[in-house]
Amino acid sequence: MSVPVFTAKALTKIYVSGEVMVHALNEVDLDIPEKEVVVLLGPSGSGKTTLLNIMGGLDRPTSGRLFFRDLDLTDLEDRELTKYRRDHVGFVFQFYNLVPSLTAYENVALVTEVAKNPMRPADALALVGLEARMHHFPAQLSGGEQQRVAIARAIAKRPAVLLCDEPTGALDSKTGIRVIEALLGVNRQLGTTTVIITHNASIQEVADRVLFFADGRISRIRTNEARREAAELTW
């Protein structure tokens, strides 16, 4: 078995709101190996996004440890976390989060300008099948196209991990399937470890493993013997 990309030990996150303490993550232990496609499933408030944010260096745990390979993310300063995000993590968000005043090409270039060993923005867009639309502004693209631009932007830096928060949440099934296809294509071609949060149970079929979340804990883990292709999905 290859070295895990992420190793979480008793990872805990507590939010304090007034006098109420919310255990968003409750002593989670987890290993995610290289190149794996992991789907996180669970109801709202079960801790999926909190885990993703901590893995992506956007948030810090209250206690416990999280390692990215040999790097302990829990002890990093803000500046080191920024560098970690810049060098290793690609994000895909539910609402795409494209900069509306930049074209598809420029949105991708936003990442390639600061990354260490990026691919060319045009190549990243070609990987998601958008080479013909690269000079369009977000407002001129459909929802699916915008999400694929977001995927191109996330993979352009050749990240070690791709963290996707509800990437199909705002899309219809046909478009959602194209986006999942794009994510799996990147995973196949670049070997990027991919973590996908979803509410959509159908998507679990494309994963190597499925982590079921409930009340800040991983309640169950399912390993798929064989991943299904995106084209085979329906919802």
Binding site: L58, T82, R86, V99, S101, L102, E106, L110, A115
Partner: protein, 667 residues
């Protein structure tokens, strides 16, 4: 170009109206600073250059008749570098086609052609030829006002004798940059002239052969003006000398100083208002932009952009605005500065203009604008740094509102829901609401400041011409006259009322502070030339004691009940102690006022007058003009009503305020 810079340019294009608005306000601050400081410096340097090139004197003195032999003794005073003695006399003019009597200051020109001090800048023509009794040089403003060129003729009553004069030259002098006739409050170039003529001719006209009546002195560098003035006074005393004085008390110089001071004040009042508003607007614009781009800021952080690079991005946005403002303000300020300098130069009739190069003004204006913008941007940029990426990318939590009043009071029953939203928004951001109100207040302040000048001028004219100096005309005499001249003048055609007026030059002192002023004597209950207090009520002068301008009281540090030392610079030249009995609001300089009989007693002289104030019958002014021109002892006539009509806008007469004021005039 970096992608973030492309975003910046597109943001600027999208928000162009806001960007332009803030840039214009920044530009306003820069422009007023560059305009005021630039033109002040240019005019100051022009004045310095003019004074230097044309030998403007440092000390001036008048005498009745001082022998020329005294010149050498004046030259022996330590600190004196150059002397010019001359004859200077006031006279009445009679100009063809111009019925109102005009006055002039006649000044002699050395027949040797040598001018040491206060040299003329000849605009056109030549100096009077030796021996030609009718040839004169006149000052350019007077020539221009009448359309005179070389060869034009007019008459003057010199020492009681009418003479035909012909203009051979038109000139400017550093001594008469600003000319205002005796008894007048505003310059009127049609009715006041400076006339230079041959010393030989003028001395013959005034029986001053081998004598002089005025002296100008240039000091050596580092010389004590006070010392020279004291010694000069001592030398001229036996010859009817009036107090010598420095440039500070020279009319033209003092007015010029005052005008330049106003420009200087403008540079200190307007730019800070603009810059405060600019700081506020930058804060408002950037705070809104940061709030709107909250998700993008979070995204940039998630993508691995450092806080510094994101702050730099928004800082560039502010810098762009400021740079546009500075460039626009610099260009407009420079253009206006050149324009204003030329305008002032024309107004003061400077023979040339020196445009001062002032790179430091641009740097200061730029630095102040940048500082104002940085202060305005600080809070918004701090928000950028504080915003965690994970939080930024989520929709912001609903802001916390609270009830304004007790739950029992149902505010929504009193006001509509939209109004309630508005009230709660204001209550939620009290600081922002305060600064919004402050910004509007400052914007209004800019308007008020600019409109205030006009209003204050109106008030000043109103008080001066309709409450205080209500005389239609003032006849000034070349020499003081015994008081019964008032009765003679009152018999002139068209004269409705006549009041005596006497002026005595003095030095007034309290402790170490000393000023040179004129004490004017007038009847206790003067009807025409009245004294008005702060409440705009007429002041009845007491039988003894001195009333002084409020500003003079402030300068000397005295008030009613205190005593001041007064050196009388005329007649017996005694030094006396006089009680201050009142302080009076005064819009035109500083002066002292006494009841005229009390002034005679103080001077230990029989009743005399230096001028007579008149109320005229409007229908008989032409008769009055003709009559007054034939009085040989008249040195000048000031026509206050004519001055007011030419300087005030006619439309104002119809305003209710003016109607009330005119009703107060004697029927």
């Amino acid at each position: 170009m970096k992608v973030l810079d492309i975003k910046l340019l597109r943001d600027v294009r999208r928000l162009w109206a806001q960007v332009l608005a803030v840039a214009l306000v920044v530009g306003g601050g820069v422009a007023t600073l560059v305009l005021a400081v630039g033109s002040h410096r240019s005019l100051e340097e022009t004045r310095i250059a003019y004074y230097e090139r044309y030998g403007f004197a440092d000390v001036f003195a008048q005498a009745k008749r001082a022998p020329k032999a005294l010149t050498d003794r004046i030259g022996e005073i330590p600190g004196v570098a150059a002397i010019d003695t001359r004859i200077a006399k006031p006279a009445l003019l009679d100009i063809p086609g111009f019925s109102a009597p005009a006055s002039a200051q006649f000044v002699s020109l050395a027949d040797t052609g040598e001018q040491h001090l206060n040299r003329l800048y000849m605009r056109s023509g030549r100096f009077p030829a030796p021996g030609r009794t009718e040839e004169v040089v006149v000052n350019e403003p007077f020539a221009r006002a009448h359309g005179f060129v070389e060869g034009a003729r007019f008459s003057a009553i010199l020492n009681g004798r009418k003479r035909e004069l012909v203009i051979v030259g038109i000139a400017l002098s550093p001594e008469f940059v600003y000319t205002v006739g005796p008894g007048d409050l505003m310059p009127d170039d049609r009715r006041y002239a400076i006339v230079w003529m041959s010393e030989k001719v003028l001395s013959a006209a005034y029986d001053l052969d081998g004598a002089f009546s005025a002296v100008a002195v240039k000091l050596q560098p580092g010389a004590s003006e006070r010392d020279v003035v004291r010694r000069l006074d001592a030398l001229l005393d036996p010859y009817g000398g009036q107090a010598a004085h420095g440039r500070k008390d020279q009319t033209s110089h003092a007015w010029l100083d005052h005008e330049l001071d106003m420009l200087n004040n403008m540079s200190r009042t307007l730019p800070p208002i603009f810059l405060l508003v600019a700081a506020f607007l930058v804060n408002l614009t950037l705070t809104r932009l940061v709030a709107l781009e909250r998700e993008q800021i979070g995204l940039l952080k998630a993508l691995g952009y450092s806080d510094g690079s994101i702050v730099l991005h928004y800082f560039k946005f502010v810098a762009f605005i400021v740079v546009v403002g500075i460039v626009l303000g610099g260009i407009v300020g420079t253009w206006l500065g050149l324009h204003v300098t030329a305008l002032f130069g024309d107004f003061f009739h400077f023979p040339f203009l020196v445009f001062a190069k002032a790179p430091d003004v641009y740097l200061t204006a730029g630095a102040l604008s940048a500082a104002a913008a940085a202060i305005g941007a600080f809070r918004a940029l701090r928000e950028v740094v504080k915003l965690p990426p994970a939080v930024a990318m989520q929709a912001p939590a609903p802001p916390v509102y609270r009830r304004l009043l007790s739950a029992r009071i149902q505010l929504d029953r009193i006001v509509s829901q939209p109004t309630l939203m508005m009230i709660r928004n204001i209550a939620r951001h009290p600081v922002r609401a305060f600064f919004t109100a402050l910004g509007m207040a400052l914007a209004t302040a800019i308007l008020v400041v600019s409109l205030f000048t006009r209003d204050s001028m109106e008030h000043l004219t109103d008080v001066t011409y309709f409450l205080a100096d209500r005389q239609d005309a003032t006849i000034g005499f070349a020499e003081k006259r015994i008081a019964n001249v008032v009765e003679q003048v009152s018999r002139l055609p068209g004269v409705l009322a006549a009041e005596p007026f006497r002026e005595v030059p003095v030095r007034i002192r309290h402790g170490n502070v000393e000023r040179r002023i004129v004490i004017s004597g007038r009847p206790a209950a003067a009807h025409l030339r009245r004294i008005i207090d702060v409440e705009l009520r007429p002041v009845i002068l007491p039988e003894t004691g001195l009333a002084i301008s409020g500003m003079l009281a402030h300068i000397l540090g005295v008030g009613p009940g205190d005593s001041v030392e007064v050196d009388l610079l005329e007649g017996a030249r005694r030094s006396v102690t006089v009680p201050v009995v009142a302080t009076v609001e005064d819009y035109f300089g500083i002066r002292g006022m006494m009841e005229i009989e009390a002034l005679h007693k103080l001077m230990r002289e029989a009743p005399v007058v230096t001028s007579v104030n008149l109320s005229l019958d409007e229908n008989r002014t032409e008769d009055f003009y003709t009559a007054v021109k034939s009085i040989p002892t008249v040195g000048g006539v000031a026509l206050q009503r004519v001055s007011w009509r030419t300087s005030a806008r006619p439309s104002r007469c119809s305003s209710p305020r003016w109607r009330v004021s005119t009703r107060a005039l004697p029927a």
